[in-house]
Symmetry: D2
Subunit: 287 residues, 4 copies
């Protein structure tokens, strides 16, 4: 929001491993780009976090530098691993096992007058760890309320220190203040899944566009950039809300039962039950 | 957010009547409290607005001072008029006639450890004017999508210059930064109704607590105030999301068909159809 | 900060006349541009204010629509009236009569490597009404402390409800987030004059660039804009600090003694004494 | 600004050592308070940074965990080490060697009506690394401009990647939003020393009050706190501006010449010349 530039990979991890992950990223970046801290400015990595201390021995800070290097080096296009992977391993959402989820849209831009124009990609990746069962809504259906009687909390997990980190990416040519506006809309998608953003929950949304890149050094003083008109942004706004909702649901649907430290247990969302509930509602909608 | 104090009534009106309403409020306040601008500081009224120019001759700025005086003087406790009243007269939400809506909760405070404590009131009043039909969700059900085929837009209303103003009130003893956090949660309720916060839509949320009042003048320099612990706020957060969602739905349900300037027309939400749709879904949920 | 666009003139007035000025501006704009509220969106004027109620009968709200129309219609290039003019008529800064002041720079852009590039204009206009005498610094010299013994406050003016509004204008091609950063720097110039931003003082800074204009309607969906690189902005940042400091001093130097309502009196800054003080310091600097 | 609570020590370091320092702080805290991550929430340390890569081998990230443990364990009351110490070792301000500086005030609270009340302590500690020589003002005197001819830059140091971190501490009973207001005023003190907040410079201010402490766990749901009235805060605002200005000057005055990595050199502010310059101006002021 201050510089409007993204200079490092975005990394996600366990809350108390942020320092280690940040440090390893600096080490990796300065090896790969030797001019940093000399020819170029120093860097400050972007590291998101959720509290996974119910399932994970978070105090043990088990993430090591080599895990970070591998994450950066193996980052690639194509399908994204979802569920209990990476920083999502120990996460819980609405009392079900969750983790990493993603969703994307190809957005055709329409002006107010109905003209069609260019189309752009928008994707959301979430590290999701918020909420309580009775609030869970999937596709608007109060799934959590319906399932809750079968999942009586044993009363052990009283702390509800959740959070969700959303990363919003697009190739639409948006300015930094337009990216900020896009990110704010992601919160509406979090709301649709049933979040009321509990006190101890941190909802953090970061976004970037790959369309306009600013060179680290240049002989020019101004540059020409292409910008999407604000009037043409509504399709992206709609997409970011949908993708955020869907990415959270995907994280829930891709995770499996997990037993973690201290014999703590998080059940997966029961997909068969979910399918039946959603089918009933879909049928009701069609009649 | 800067002073943390509210010094005037909150007024809601049509966008281009803000100046007139602000001016009339100053006039009313300075007559009623002659010390203003002399013994006490000058005042700056809080006036919210939505763009009602599809149905209303907004350019005509027909709100007059006497309307403002009457609104202030007739403000009272008890049931709140909803639908096409006051600043809600010319408003449209998700292509249906809307206006003013309200909802409230009595919130029992639970600590994380399950203890019950005091209970507080929280209410939300909305001036609602946003969105498009196919996004409308009521109680999670995609009502807009189901009804849309019966309400083909004739293509005249291309501008979608919406907005929603939410006023959040509580008697819970919250600090200014806690009120700010409470207000942010109202946005999650807006999301549940289907908003994607279109470019031209302004979502503005203002909140206040009646619990701690600061005297205009005092011989003391510090004062003692009671504050609700953050850990105990989750019930209020949940309530503000629910109330915002419900207040918007109430505005839709209480409004009737309206034909306005230039023969523009906004249909009411068809309550019989709505009841049938919701009943079907409720039945699906019970099975 | 939300839309990044400026659609109306910026008007400055007395605090409790904001409503009237806003209303008159809407009236003027809708007459001049008949498509507003129909073909185009409604507008919300930008009106800044200071509390002039020590010298002015502020409660009387004596600004009328015709004053607003005249202000808009007579706005022109060339020298700017300073001191006790317009919204500056009843203002006081550091216990001396003040009002409107302005200052500008022609800024040559240098890159970090010393290359020179294009040059741009930057101007600041202030409506200044803050502070107490003993804090006043002019060109770094503690002028207020030196002059204070000659201006013992008679104890009547206990309220210190100040404020300063700064309007920053440039033709440099800056994005909205760059304008925000430019505006924040203006605060540093306010600090140099001796402000500590008292509780009741509101420091509001608004800025705009004339370089990139966005059409109200267009058949395109993206547009090409020229942007100044952040690395090249330091000259503008330095200029905005200097101009803000200088504009405040100019407002003080151009105002004359004023006796206002209730026989309240504000003395002008004694220019002869000021010149002597500054000359002594300038001589000390040269040795 | 979100929670309004401070849960860890505040640590200051070199930009690219933030990760290591954060990680070591987590390790120290979780050893000292074994309930973290189990009985209590996880923690996120607060670590400030400046770019010292001109004098320091910043890429080498030479801060180790034991340095962090020692810093936390040896923190004590009494005189504060200033100049080239700790995170200040490699810092430069206005092209002179700088580092850590501090200043404090005992503030007697006055109401607007002149009554005196309680008194409170306010202190500022800076990690200062910003600016260019010709802008340097000390006590308002353009010291940088006067000294610049004797310190011609050899042209090597073209990057000007500065920053200043200010830590504001008080025992006045201020709410979180009042602390935010206090912190904003610190910027005015930075301005008085000559900063124009260059693009690559990050001005970050963090503050806290020790007056009201919130227990990690409690059986209550509300608590009573004492709050200083806003009208009574002006003395603290004035103090924070003065302390920030003075803390920066102290950092400059306590640092000595330093030759760092790559034979880079930063000269100390010449104190004899400074004294002579200030004496001349002081004499001019007295006449």
């Amino acid at each position: 929001m201050e510089w409007g530039l993204l200079e490092t990979p975005i990394l996600l991890t366990s809350t108390m491993s942020v320092g280690k992950v940040s440090d390893a990223t600096v080490k990796w970046m300065t090896r790969r780009f030797p001019g940093i801290g000399d020819e170029y400015d120093v860097i400050i990595p972007i590291v998101g976090e959720c509290d996974d201390s119910w399932l994970n021995d978070a105090v043990g800070r088990h993430v090591r530098s080599e895990h970070v290097y591998r994450a950066i080096e193996q980052a690639s296009g194509g399908p994204v691993a979802e569920g209990s992977v990476g920083a999502g391993t120990g996460l819980i959402t609405c009392d079900f096992k969750a983790g990493i989820g993603t969703s994307s849209r190809r957005v055709v831009i329409f002006r107010g007058n109905g003209e069609t124009g260019p189309s752009y990609n928008l994707g959301v990746l979430v590290q999701t760890n918020f909420g309580i069962m009775r609030s869970l809504r999937i596709a608007g259906v109060p799934v959590g309320e319906i399932l809750a009687p079968d999942y009586a909390n044993d009363g052990k997990r009283v702390r509800n220190a959740g959070s969700i980190i959303c990363v919003v990416a697009t190739d639409a040519p948006l300015l930094p203040n337009q990216i900020t506006r896009l990110c704010k809309r992601a919160a509406l998608g979090i709301g649709r899944v049933g979040s009321f953003a509990a006190h101890a929950s941190g909802e953090i949304i970061i976004g970037f566009s790959t369309a306009n890149q600013v060179p680290r050094s240049t002989s020019g003083m101004t540059h020409q950039i292409e910008v999407l008109l604000d009037d043409a942004c509504d399709g992206l706004y709609e997409a970011v809300v949908e993708c955020t909702e869907e990415a959270i649901v995907n994280a829930l649907c891709m995770a499996e039962d997990m037993r973690g430290q201290a014999d703590h247990f998080a059940p997966a969302l029961p997909l068969d039950d979910l399918a039946e509930i959603l089918n009933r509602h879909h049928a009701a909608q069609q009649r």
